[in-house]
């Protein structure tokens, strides 16, 4: 992979959501999805292994779930860039908890592709 390629890890138990997010990410120049985790545990392990530039994190996943995964990733790497992409993102309590856990932004499902692209680009420094 080219050195200046940005690596993105997608954590979502839905294959459909993961597919849609992959299309958005890979539609951005110099961006590549390097892994797809389907549980919170997997996302933490894959983060440590792949050290991606950005993680898209669903919250409602089997196992520990996305919120705990955010905390564990941030504990391992306080500079980790995580954006929550979740159907629960529209609720104030979820948004607050995710931001306090260390997520940088929250996108609610169903998401608007243009807005999602803009958020990903900004967090990856590709503006």
């Amino acid at each position: 992979m080219a050195e200046d390629m940005k690596k993105v890890l997608i954590a979502d138990d839905s294959r459909v959501a993961a597919h849609l997010l992959t299309e958005i990410v890979e539609g951005i120049e110099r961006c590549k999805v390097v892994g797809a985790a389907r549980t919170g545990e997997e996302s933490v392990e894959m983060y440590k292994e792949l050290m991606p530039d950005l993680v898209t994190m669903d919250l409602s996943m089997p196992g520990m779930g996305g919120m705990e995964a955010i905390r564990q990733i941030i504990a391992a790497d306080p500079a980790a860039k995580i954006v929550v992409v979740s159907s629960m993102g529209g609720a104030q309590d979820t948004l607050l908890e995710a931001l306090e856990a260390g997520a940088l932004s929250v996108i609610s499902k169903p998401f608007d592709e243009q807005k999602a692209t803009a958020v990903f680009r900004k967090l990856l420094g590709l503006l």
Binding site: S14, S60, M88, Q92, K109
Partner: protein, 288 residues
């Protein structure tokens, strides 16, 4: 467009940073008076009573007001009175943002106007459940959100039919997706979808009118549709003062699960939904 709250609107537009938003929400929360403090100021409880209730709370994990009534320290009327006072002590997020100095009042008014304009694009609740049923509010929000998502994701208009009860099994119309609600509402959401409707949702989700009829992929899409719908139901219920948690969905195709059997102690409240290309059912399965 899905309803969202003002804070998310400001965050999306980078008007506030995530840190500023967290600080403003926490400031907003700190301004809400505690029920114990209000009950003390009204003379309904002594400090000793409040301490007793707090101790009991640690053991039972119940809400302060509910527990105070159960312990016969407050009457229902007194609880209602202090809840009203608490409600009135609430400040809006915008006020908290201005108080913390993140926006001026003029800026706040300008952004609020933009936010309101965007919210007007959200269709008003169109589903009315006429029948008197338990959990009517949850059922109304659930059916309404399903219809909104059918329009938003599946590009389908829909209308609801006559509500009915089922206590043995639900015949699978094609693909069934279920998702458990926990918390203040304890029930199971069920979407029972004909293949025609399910295929249309998948075509629109993938923005591919030629999407092949792949049953596994379509069932997965319905699972995600239910996940998105219920996440938005959760946000709406929270606005109405009810907290519910959602579990990941599971899907069942008619070839493997011709009908969804109910436990002897369960009952399904079913609302049929009709679209121009096929039917579906939205149900809440509850303990009898």
């Amino acid at each position: 467009m899905v309803p969202k709250f003002f804070g998310q609107y400001l965050l999306e537009r980078e008007i506030l940073t995530s840190r500023q938003l967290v600080e403003a929400i926490n400031y907003q929360r700190s301004k809400v008076l505690k029920l114990g403090e209000i009950a003390l100021s009204k003379g309904f409880l002594t400090e000793k009573d409040v301490a007793k209730i707090h101790n009991e709370q640690k053991r039972t994990d119940m809400m302060f007001g509910e527990l105070a009534v159960r312990m016969k320290m407050l009457t229902e009327e007194q609880l209602q009175e202090i809840l009203t006072i608490q409600q009135n002590s609430h400040i809006y997020l915008g006020e908290a943002i201005v108080a913390r100095g993140f926006l001026t009042l003029e800026e706040l008014e300008k952004y609020l106007e933009g936010f309101k304009k965007e919210q007007i694009l959200v269709p008003p609740i169109e589903v009315m459940i006429a029948e008197e049923i338990e959990n009517k509010e949850t059922m109304t929000v659930t059916v309404d959100m399903t219809c909104k998502m059918l329009r938003r994701i599946g590009d389908m208009l829909s209308k609801t039919g006559q509500l009915r009860y089922e206590d043995k099994a639900a015949k699978n119309l094609g693909v069934i997706a279920t998702l458990d609600f926990k918390g203040d509402v304890s029930s199971r959401y069920m979407l029972n979808c004909s293949w025609n409707v399910a295929h249309q949702v998948a075509r629109k989700t993938f923005k591919n009118e030629e999407l092949p009829f792949d049953m596994e992929l379509i069932a997965d899409t319905i699972g995600e549709f239910v996940n998105v719908t219920c996440g938005n139901v959760r946000a709406k219920m929270l606005e109405l003062g009810k907290r519910l948690e959602i579990e990941p969905p599971s899907t069942h195709m008619d070839s493997r699960t011709p009908e969804m059997a109910l436990d002897k102690k369960e009952q399904a409240v079913i609302v049929p939904v009709y679209t121009p290309i096929g039917e579906l059912e939205v149900a809440l399965i509850e303990r009898k």
